[in-house]
Symmetry: C2
Subunit: 214 residues, 2 copies
């Protein structure tokens, strides 16, 4: 059955999914990139960005798994780019160059309308201005029976979690503490939302935990 | 050199070191006992409570390590017992029966004076009414060159962390989310306090992380 899932989402040991002070130079916030070391070393990441071979092993398996059967993505506006307010023009096309690593429809939550943006390799960015539930409906339709992946950032994930829309969540706990930034867990009561960790696996550079709704 | 350390302190994946609503029936708060499953299964725990053999392996090694070279303990009042306000009499002698598993001096932070309480097996409970720094000085003196272990609970640990008194911290992340309770990390900036995770090891029932000050 088609699922709504969070995959390979990296958090620090103290619960932060991004550092503070996001901007063009720090798209993940200050020190946020350290959360993703495990992913950047994988063959999945390296091949995605045409960088050659990377690591194989547990981290790579979890990275690969996060892309399995994904028919559509949902991203928050900040994960698409650092532009704030209305789109001035079409020059910003995401952080990922001409051929983004999605290869399926991607729905961007924003308050500012913009025409769909088809990219090389099958990715089309759709800009959704009428809220996360509308984005989810559109993503489910577009996914054609496959899964919808909520890509992030933290506030987007928190929105879908608290809305009760997520079926499965894979978090990668990186061996890092940030002390500040965007906290994934603050005021989110995962047990009340029905979530339980069902699998914990040590990777080479992160600890992978799968949460399911019971 | 003598260290001040936190050892084998269990936290949930969402950062809670105890559940909500501590009382006589729930000394660790609601669901708090689930944080300690890894420890309760170890041979270290089983022998400590004269229950026979337990598990050997990584979790047991980390449990054993937490007791190495400990010359004195510091505990918060709530970890010693559920009694609130002045001590009515000497009837409450801790959660651990006649022979507590410390076997060294234990300093209890409290606002209410009480005479030292010697127990079987070498444990003496000392009640400290003039604050955490005084307790630390007394514990260091009593430890005779060995380490001082800050046992808990969460607020005691937070106090010594933010006071800059802790040299090393071993947290055991249990595969549990609580959603509420006493959060270890909230508003504590471990990097600013100089802490960095230096070792992550998967145990059978918990993930062990050693933090050191750099």
């Amino acid at each position: 059955m088609s699922k709504v899932k969070i995959g390979a989402f990296s958090v620090s040991l103290d619960g932060f999914g991004a550092g503070p002070l996001q901007d063009l130079n720090n798209p993940l916030g200050v020190r946020g990139f350290e959360l993703h070391t495990w992913f950047q070393r994988t063959t999945v990441f390296q091949k995605m960005h045409h960088l050659g071979e990377g690591s194989l092993g547990v981290d790579n398996d979890f990275a690969a798994r996060s892309f399995d059967n994904v028919g559509a993505w949902i991203l928050g506006r900040n994960m698409f780019g650092p532009v704030r307010g209305p789109w001035k023009d079409d020059s910003w096309k995401g952080w990922w160059g001409d051929e983004p690593p999605y290869h399926v429809p991607v729905f961007i939550l924003t308050h500012h309308a913009r025409a769909p943006l088809p990219m090389k390799g099958g990715t089309t960015f759709h800009f959704v201005v009428d809220g996360p539930e509308s984005a989810l409906r559109q993503a489910k339709d577009a996914a054609g029976g496959r899964d919808v992946r909520i890509g992030g950032g933290v506030s987007t994930i928190r929105q879908y979690l608290t809305g009760g829309h997520v079926d499965e969540m894979h978090l990668a706990f990186s061996p890092v503490v940030l002390g500040e930034g965007e906290n994934l867990f603050a005021d989110i009561h995962l047990p009340k939302l029905g979530f339980k960790p069902v699998q914990t696996t040590a990777g080479e550079e992160a600890t992978h935990v799968i949460f399911k709704r019971t």
